[in-house]
């Protein structure tokens, strides 16, 4: 499941609603699309426990019924943690996301991990290049600290990174800055932080 990309996840939710027999609404036009909005794209390979989606249904269905039906229809790897009804005119989820908090588990033991974290926190700027563009990673890192090791003794780090249009902090970039290759880490999204009071019509976690 964690290797399902954003668009494919969208498709997976559409099929889940169809299997659940819930009357998902489709857009008008020549190529009707299911009206599902995911709050923030989860990069390939990441796991998460806090994904949010707005989903429009054609008719009103009691929330308990929506939850029950989804529970029987979700594919392996998806768990619906909660469902609530929101105002039709609530602003879209994407526009309200300001940051994400990630828990990163390092598969290999890393020397001087605390020092590497401190050095990042202590920097005034961290210029990096991504897809040919130069940018400053430092202001995108809102918080970063070590977590207790996991039961297998592997080091863990918490990172709170900005996630606004045009200013998205990426865990793999932070790891890169610490000289850790992305495939030597497992990244889990712990929390999506909303600027205004954000509510999803249907809330689901992976």
């Amino acid at each position: 499941m964690r290797f399902t990309g954003h668009l494919d996840l969208h498709r997976t939710w559409e099929r889940t609603f169809r299997r659940a027999g819930l009357p998902i609404a489709y857009s008008q036009g020549f190529h009707p699309q299911p009206r599902i909005n995911l709050a923030a794209a989860l990069p390939l390979g990441f796991t998460s426990e806090c994904e949010l989606a707005d989903v429009w249904l054609e008719t009103e269905v009691p929330v308990e019924k929506v939850k029950e039906s989804l529970d029987t229809a979700v594919p392996p790897g998806l768990i619906v943690t909660g469902v609530e009804i929101i105002n039709q005119h609530a602003p879209t989820l994407q526009t309200q996301v300001v940051a994400s908090e990630y828990f990163v588990t390092l598969l290999d033991s890393t020397q001087d991990l605390d020092k590497r974290i401190e050095s990042i926190i202590g920097s005034a700027d961290l210029h990096r290049e991504r897809r040919g563009k130069d940018y400053d990673l430092r202001p995108l890192i809102l918080d970063m600290h070590r977590l207790p090791d996991d039961e297998e003794g592997r080091s863990r780090i918490s990172m709170k990174l900005a996630a606004e249009p045009g200013a998205t902090g990426r865990p793999e970039e932070v790891l890169g800055q610490m000289d850790i290759t992305p495939e030597a880490a497992k990244v889990h999204r712990k929390r999506i932080i909303f600027g205004v009071q954000g509510e999803g019509q249907s809330r689901a976690g992976t």
Binding site: L7, R15, R19, L107, E183
Partner: protein, 638 residues
């Protein structure tokens, strides 16, 4: 020893580094995971190309469903990894593994390859190599899996004879069960592997190449096949199921995008049209249809268990399905308001009706496909696809008036006796179709012209004819590119190198096995992907083996020549194919055999089966019951 656990832990590091890692994880909805320890016969079903293609293969989906319904067997899936993943697997020492339980393929009892087309041969060898299974059948011992293969390409199994222990010729639904039973009886009884092969060869539809030897004449042509064991069957008759069993409905739902991401339901098997170039049309007889109700019910089940948003009603010629309009209307009615896309490929120009277009109108995206195959009436008579140009233009106009803006036209170049005038006519016809569209919808009308190159196939009336040379193909394509230069006509073609490879392999003999092996050794794989085809590896392999590729492709064959695939019987007789070939030389057409039986050989071959099958189950005429008077009624009671 490599275990699923070691594979899983190594994958942790590798998957984030490869393209589309979702191909290699399994875990999709509706996959079947059974208890490995408690099941005696374990089958790996392999499509020797990437996941994206293999997941759309209906044949394997049917077998997966059937094998997993047994309590004493399990079936799991494997696909060829993309080259980036293959490299990573080889570096990390990960063998080819199954997606369900991550067991190495060498841990399975039976490996079943799907071989729908010839350009998968090098990938098949590569998959065996990646699995650490001996490549040559002769080198496998009692501890190695049984390697079987089936699919349309298996109707000429000879080029792959050295690598496959047993081929399934024909339909797999029943024989897969018998193969598992035979395997189960042999496993653990201590008998040598040869005994297993002997027992398999006694099953209807199974061909074990090791029990035969091929002989050639001094001029290099095929002479005859010799049985090495008294009991080996000759000829080997294809397997069929008398009535199509209920279609599978619990399809695996991939997390990632695949080629045909939809519910496939086969509405009909076989085709009565008799196009002379068509391999499938000859080898899948007799025609059997599924009842409308059965199709609609299956769709309902499948939609519930998968949530797919598109269905495909599949057959070789869907508009020939007896109740096609009823079927499409029934589907539209049952699933109205469900935002369901219906795809109905393979529509015949002459059986297309306005009613059918009305019924399909709700699904207009993606263009409407017609396959005239040739552009002059003369040529269409030779290939036995007799539709008049006027008919085609009438249908095209209706399609545009029904709201479609793009018509896709499929043609082939390289038909027997084709001239440059016939090729020019393809361009003229595309323009004529476009002109019809412009009359109806003006500048929005478009034509996509897909022009492939004809490859003569075994078991067809064209099995005798030479294939165009590379130079001929290039000249014809250059002509088309020049004359099809129009902003609303999109022209696509097949590279002649791809065509040559398919042509060598299609009518190859046992000696080709060494060429395939050497080509693979020299780096050939993914031959079906034009961009990955390694032509020089193939040419080098031919040179090393001392065979001339032109012998297989460009040589006209004598009418009385024995072919390397003659011992495989599709039930359509060589005598019939010969006659049909002669007819083609005179431009004589053969009408749809639903109208009239031409005695191709299906009925005499399967006369007993036909008698036992209800009249409407086959589109072949009924066979008279033998009048046997029971003895009791004759003898007068005391």
């Amino acid at each position: 020893m490599v275990t699923p656990e070691t594979i899983k832990s190594k994958l942790e590091r590798i998957l984030p580094t490869v393209q589309k890692p979702g191909r290699y994880t399994g875990g999709e909805l509706n996959q079947v995971v059974k208890s490995w320890e408690n099941i005696s016969t374990r089958v790996a079903l392999v499509f020797p190309d990437i996941y994206d293609l293999g997941m759309s293969n209906l044949g394997l989906a049917i077998l997966y469903d059937l094998v997993n319904k047994r309590d004493d067997a399990l079936a799991e899936r494997a696909y060829t990894p993309n080259p980036d993943m293959e490299l990573a697997m080889r570096q990390a020492g990960i063998p080819l593994y199954s997606l369900e339980t991550m067991h190495p393929l060498s841990d399975f009892d039976i490996i079943g390859f799907s071989l729908p087309y010839e350009t998968l041969y090098t990938n098949t060898i590569n998959a065996l190599d990646l699995a650490g299974i001996p490549l040559f059948s002769a080198e496998r011992t009692e501890i190695d899996p049984l390697v079987i293969a089936g699919g349309h390409a298996a109707f000429n199994p000879e080029p792959m004879h050295a690598f496959i222990d047993a081929f399934v010729i024909g339909e797999g639904e029943d024989v897969i069960q018998e193969i598992i039973d035979v395997y189960k009886g042999w496993k653990g009884c201590g008998a040598p592997r040869r005994e297993l092969l002997r027992a398999l060869s006694r099953l209807w539809g199974v061909y074990v190449p090791a029990l035969y030897e091929a002989h050639y004449l001094a001029d290099g042509t095929f002479s005859r096949i010799e049985k090495l064991e008294e009991e080996a069957p000759l000829p080997i008759l294809k397997r069929i199921v008398p009535i199509l069993p209920p279609p599978p409905t619990r399809f695996i739902v991939p997390y990632i995008e695949t080629v045909h991401n939809r519910i496939p339901v086969e509405i009909m098997r076989g085709c009565t049209r008799g196009c002379r170039f068509c391999h499938a049309g000859m080898i899948t007889r007799p025609v059997r249809e599924r009842p409308v109700e059965e199709v609609v019910d299956a769709l309902e089940d499948a939609l519930e268990s998968t949530g797919f948003e598109e269905i495909g009603l599949l057959s070789l010629s869907s508009s020939d399905y007896t109740n096609i309009v009823d079927l499409v209307n029934a589907v539209a009615k049952r699933f109205s308001g469900k935002h369901l896309g219906i795809s109905l490929p393979s529509l015949r120009i002459e059986s297309m009706s306005v009613d059918l277009m009305d019924a399909l109108k709700g699904n207009r995206h993606g263009g409407f496909t017609l396959a005239p195959e040739a552009a002059t009436e003369r040529m269409r008579e030779i290939i036995n696809k007799p539709v008049s140009t006027q008919q085609l233009l009438d249908v095209a106009r209706e399609i545009y008036s029904h709201g479609w803006t793009t018509i896709k036209l499929y043609f082939m170049i390289g038909h027997p006796s084709e001239t440059l005038e016939d090729v020019q006519a393809i361009a003229d016809l595309c323009k004529a179709v476009l002109a019809e569209g412009q009359k109806v919808i003006g500048g929005r009308a478009k034509v996509n012209a897909g022009v492939s190159t004809f490859v003569p196939k075994p078991h067809t009336p064209f099995q005798w004819v030479p294939c165009d040379t590379r130079e001929q193909v290039l000249a014809k394509q250059a002509l088309l590119r020049r004359v099809l230069d129009h902003k609303n006509i999109k022209f696509s073609w097949v590279k002649p190198e791809d065509t040559m490879l398919e042509a060598w392999l299609s009518r190859g003999d046992r000696r080709m096995a060494e060429v395939i092996y050497l080509a693979w050794k020299k780096g050939a794989k993914f031959d079906a992907w034009g961009d990955k085809l390694n032509y020089s590896a193939w040419m080098d392999a031919f040179a090393a083996v001392g065979l001339d590729p032109a012998f297989y492709t460009h040589r006209p064959r004598q009418l009385d020549e024995n072919f390397p695939w003659d011992h495989i019987s599709s039930s359509v007789r060589k005598k019939f194919l010969t006659e049909d070939f002669m007819w083609s030389l005179r431009g004589k057409i053969r009408i749809d055999c639903r109208q009239r039986c031409f005695a191709c050989g299906v009925l005499p071959t399967f006369s007993d089966l036909r008698r036992e099958t209800p009249a409407d189950a086959w589109k072949c005429p009924e066979v008279k019951r033998r009048t046997v008077i029971p003895v009791e009624t004759v003898a007068s009671p005391e």
